[in-house]
């Protein structure tokens, strides 16, 4: 401050001072902007780094076998270096499939109800609970599955269909997963349905269609891309869910033949065996290959659904 006063008594130096300050400010801006760019590039490249890292670690098991063999073989003998992922892939598919079959109709109906039929009060009451549900940690879903779903299946559902079931089954995994993906599907469908143009509904209603007919023949058709995107996103979410599924699925490495059979999804395989993987050759590589598999599938599904959703958004904005 003193420097400033002294300088400013003669006209010339204050100019230098201001120029200097300006240069410092611009330099600061430039440096910070480069730093931010660096952070941005680093965090975005995480996608590639993860992919490359996992692939690099999978090379040993891939050299020992082929993609086709790894994906279609059912023989899992780590000590002999034989890794067949088929039962695990099937376990994942069963659990995910059951979850989607349960969750999708429920969520579509719910979203239709709160957007098209119910008073806006219903939405204002329901949505906070849906958000709370999405905040509940996976392990709590797992505990709930063990305490509620397993006994339910064991005592009340399975006896009607099969002779004996412990309850630990792909059905239990599917139900728990379905509840876990409720919030995701409902919130996306809500957004999609709310952007449906009113004129479209009016036109259909004016032609004498009932509200349900309008929904069935106009809204659902128009909202189909959004529903597909939500489903794809939900599938990718369900694919990677680990702990909740692991706790209720039974973790038996055979291909399930009914919903009451135990299954062993890929994420559970990774989570359950990390302890031994360093002591057996190729085992860590095989588990990293499982992670790579999950990564690739989920990456693709995510990209597809995000592209559909952003297209929809742009179309609605236009």
């Amino acid at each position: 401050m003193i420097g400033y006063v002294i300088l400013s008594q003669s006209g010339q130096p204050i100019n230098y001072y201001i120029q200097l300050m300006q240069r410092i400010r611009l330099l600061k801006d430039k440096i910070i902007s480069k730093l931010m760019l660096l952070f941005t590039i680093l965090s975005v490249s995480l996608v590639f780094i993860i992919g490359i890292g996992l692939y690099y670690k999978s090379i040993p098991v891939l050299q020992n076998s082929t993609w086709g063999h790894l994906l279609t073989s059912s023989v899992w003998k780590p000590l002999k270096g034989l890794f067949g992922f088929y039962p695990y892939i099937m376990g994942t598919l069963w659990v995910t499939g059951i979850a989607i079959i349960i969750a999708l109709p429920l969520c579509v109906l719910t979203s239709l109800y709160i957007v098209e039929y119910a008073h806006s009060r219903v939405r204002r009451i329901l949505m906070p609970f849906v958000n709370l549900l999405s905040g509940i940690p996976p392990v709590i879903f797992g505990v709930w599955g063990v305490l509620f779903i397993i006994p339910l299946i064991q005592d009340h559902i399975a006896p009607h269909f099969v002779e004996f079931s412990t309850g630990y089954s792909v059905l239990a995994g599917g139900i728990v997963l379905a509840v876990m993906i409720f919030p995701l599907i409902v919130s996306i469908l809500n957004e999609v349905l709310r952007t449906m143009p009113q004129e479209l509904k009016d036109a259909s209603l004016a032609l004498g269609a009932t509200k349900w007919e309008t929904i069935k023949k106009v809204i659902l058709r128009k909202a189909l891309p959004g529903i597909i995107a939500a489903t794809v996103l939900a599938i990718s979410r369900a694919f990677g869910e680990t702990i909740a599924v692991l706790m209720v699925c039974g973790n038996n490495a055979v291909v399930p033949h009914s919903v009451f059979d135990a299954g062993y999804p890929l994420p559970a395989l990774i989570a359950n065996n990390y302890g031994d993987m360093m002591s057996i050759p190729l085992y860590d590589s095989a588990l990293m290959f499982a992670a790579l598999l999950l990564f690739i599938i989920i990456l693709l599904f995510n990209i597809i659904s995000r592209i559909i959703l952003s297209r929809l958004e742009r179309k609605m904005a236009a």
Binding site: S43, N131, I136, G240, Y274
Partner: protein, 281 residues
């Protein structure tokens, strides 16, 4: 005509039923956890570390896991913020006229958000092996940081986008540099930053798969970054697998504690969001 109306009625009934199931599932879960966990809730749960091992010991509580989880989630959120705030600012304020690029980057973060925590855990494990680290608090924090970065970036990004353009224009037209303008914007979104912190913390504290490989487990409270640390969700998982009834009960009580913590965090962040947007409009 009657058939059409019946159909209408039938589907309306189905919709109400579906809404009840979706909304009711939350109460069913929280209710089950409360019902099972409450009888085992004691003061010792919160204030003592497990006596005689977490798997077989019948004494003590889970203080080690509570503190461990706080360390992991807190450390990851702080590290994540340091990385995410610059990224969110860069996306919004330094990429004018590069709309396609910035939107593509946003999509990359959405995709990163969708990658499951088990993959982050496996990748965190790779990093640790590469650097010769053992399962430790530090390893857990690194893996969970990777997990929360996309959450933080996207939340902060949404929040910055709610700042009126006039505010930025005013600062810029007064001769501020972009960084000085960014500081003005950051001040305007303080409640939003807190929301982002809460969301990230809530996600970090509940995650198992990322810490499973990386943080390890221990009956003691970690005193340095290189010691293994217990985390709450992992403690629940292990206790539930124990053959001893008391330990299982402690697992239920631990689940109750985690549920309450996460619910409080989620409710706080919801309230903040509401207040923030009310303030805006």
């Amino acid at each position: 005509m009657r058939r059409r109306n019946l159909e209408e009625l039938f589907f309306k009934f189905l919709m109400v039923l579906a809404t009840l199931i979706v909304g009711g599932s939350f109460f069913l879960i929280v209710g089950t956890i409360f019902y099972k966990g409450a009888p085992y809730m004691t003061f010792d749960m919160l204030t003592k570390t497990p006596g005689g091992g977490f798997y077989i010991g019948k004494e003590g509580g889970i203080l080690n896991a509570i503190i461990g989880s706080m360390y992991v989630a807190g450390g990851a959120t702080i590290l994540g913020l340091i990385i995410s705030i610059p990224v969110a600012i860069y996306l919004n304020m330094y990429m004018d006229g590069k709309k396609f690029l910035s939107n593509t980057l946003r999509m990359v973060f959405d995709v990163l958000f969708g990658i499951p925590s088990i993959v982050y855990g496996a990748f965190g494990f790779l990093i640790m092996v590469y650097f010769g680290l053992r399962a430790s608090l530090l390893g857990g924090i690194i893996a969970v940081t990777l997990l929360v970065i996309p959450i933080l970036v996207r939340t902060l990004d949404e929040v910055i986008r709610t700042v009126p353009l006039e505010l930025r224009d005013a600062a810029l037209s007064l001769g501020s540099t972009r960084w000085e303008t960014a500081k003005v914007v950051l001040r305007a979104i303080r409640p939003g930053i807190i929301t982002a912190i809460l969301i990230s913390f809530g996600r970090a504290i509940g995650d198992v798969a990322a810490v499973l490989f990386t943080a390890g487990f221990s009956d003691n409270i970690p005193t340095s970054l290189h010691e293994p640390a217990a985390t709450l969700p992992l403690a629940i998982f292990f206790q539930l697998g124990s053959p001893i009834e008391e330990v299982q009960g402690r697992g239920y009580a631990s689940a109750l504690i985690l549920t309450i913590v996460v619910l409080i965090i989620t409710i706080l962040s919801e309230l903040l969001v509401k207040k923030f947007y009310k303030h805006k409009s």
